[in-house]
Symmetry: C2
Subunit: 175 residues, 2 copies
Amino acid sequence: MPLQAIDEDPRTPYQLPFPPDAQDEIVVPKAIADDERIWVPQAENVSFRPLCLNRSQGYWMNLLRVRKSGVLSRHRHPQPVHGFVLKGRWHYLEHDWVAEEGGYVYEPPGETHTLVVPDDVDEMITYFQVNGVMLYVDPMGNTLGYEDVFTKIDLCRAHYTKVGLGEDYVDQFIR
Amino acid sequence: MPLQAIDEDPRTPYQLPFPPDAQDEIVVPKAIADDERIWVPQAENVSFRPLCLNRSQGYWMNLLRVRKSGVLSRHRHPQPVHGFVLKGRWHYLEHDWVAEEGGYVYEPPGETHTLVVPDDVDEMITYFQVNGVMLYVDPMGNTLGYEDVFTKIDLCRAHYTKVGLGEDYVDQFIR
């Protein structure tokens, strides 16, 4: 149960130092960045904004942005995905539910799906945690490609170099 | 790199069945629930709204809501935490940055901190992924209690029974 013993000083901060080997935190004040350079293109009308690119556990937290008529190609997830819709609306061709603004979605390991945005939505932005890998497949499940946290980092480095932020810009999001 | 081969039919859905052993997805249309019964009290002015309570990996996705003068007591995280602020503003007594609406925070393993909401904020709501355990500690790091995904499930069952939704109401969020 939450608290088994009484906390005598609930507003007294922790007095000891943090472990010297602990990583730094990441604080991103306005995740939906106004600076267009921060959004990394990944397909036509599809881009992402990195938040945490985790090397030791192999997952990434990012905002996925899809603009009019963009499609996130058919892909399989061997590990869980969590989505929280911050703006707009989307659905998977393989499901009949719709992910709406303010909504949460858990996608279990084993899903293969294709993310599309309806014509009346100009832009959707969803905060996703993707674990492991996305395996792009054809309609019969034959592999066409993949993305993992390292291809995401590569895309960021190439893009940030191109737009003048520098390849090191992504380092603040890598853990 | 994302797509190594050409997808001939980007809008053709996946044609095969999902793995029969795969779990069901979770779809929560409006995560910030209007129905007050869905919010599970965990301390004075602090409540949470379960989204995914994962038993096999020992983590939980939830909305944490803190109303005026609420405090999330000092606690240590041995595993990573991800937060996305949906409403309001908060900070940790142990850090000088502020988590603002629309902002993202990564809290590395090894952090001990105390979440407080400033007086001019009536309500803050943050979408958190908490992995493993929260160890409540006193200012010198002595353990006062803990929470894990199973104590969260217990709290949900007890609360949903009390408010008439029934102890099974939480099952839709358990994976």
